[in-house]
Symmetry: C2
Subunit: 135 residues, 2 copies
DNA sequence: ATCAATAATAGTAATTGTTACTGATATTAA
DNA sequence: TTAATATCAGTAACAATTACTATTATTGAT
């Protein structure tokens, strides 16, 4: 491990993700901190986001299509991705570990982590289309 | 929808994925059928894999880093990704729907699908390192 | 405070995985 | 057999991300 030096850019990037609850992309972060650092490089944003993920200060969400998203919520939780507007929402579940325990039962490897991603239509899109959650 | 015409290339691609249980990448498929179709195009492989996914004949797995993988198993199941050798294994779980029901309880959108991906060390890697599943 | 060591930067080029385009070929229904 | 057109091979374009390089900023020791 190489020693870590302070950088104002990294500080700013971390704060931005901390205060943004829309699960921003690297590009969103880049655009968002352009005001404070007009000539920051996109590479710097990517590098620091990766670093912050390594440090466990933020997490990365792979959506399956489109760019990765970042999340200030480091507690274990799931994500919901709306197939309509592509928004991402956190989903908290009571007994998440149940899944890992259950999966371990018939698996001979060592399970260290897992993520669950839900897909569907978010509240906003349901409302816009006058649909019900249960229809 | 445009009408679907037969193609030997698509047949071959489907058969390859059907008989390959290593969750191949598009590149793997490309390399694997080069023998039968020496001058097949990588674009053709991508196009047909996407088409087969649309038709529900195979499924696509997004790994989060690295290329997408494809799976001949179309029944609902989870995946385990080894962080050591990067292999992917299927994990069958008895009551998977429990998760979706549980998640629905405190969520106001409409959940239509979900995937769970487990991360850890596979049996082979555990053995090579003389490690135990429970240590 | 000054300095040397080096981590981090801005800017840019390269890489990776995937999709789009184009003219030629293969499949299909009449 | 023919006409219509889906698919093809080949290649170019694309989006997201990473790597490179010369310069700047931070740090710990003088």
């Amino acid at each position: 491990m190489t020693m870590l030096k302070y950088s104002r850019q990294r500080e700013c990037i971390r704060d931005y993700v901390r205060n943004c609850h829309q699960h921003p992309t690297a590009d969103n972060v880049y655009a968002g901190i352009k005001e404070e650092f007009p000539n920051i490089s996109l590479g710097t944003v990517y590098r620091n986001l990766s670093l912050l993920v390594e440090l466990g200060e933020i997490t990365k969400i792979s959506t399956g299509n489109g760019p990765d998203r970042f999340d200030c919520n480091t507690r274990p939780h799931s994500h919901f991705i709306c197939t309509c507007c592509h928004c991402i929402q956190d989903i908290e579940m009571a007994d998440m570990d149940y899944i890992a325990r259950k999966a371990s039962e018939n698996f001979d490897g060592k399970i260290l982590a897992y993520t669950t991603t839900f897909y569907g239509i978010c509240k906003n899109c349901l409302d816009e289309k006058n649909l019900q959650k249960s229809s």
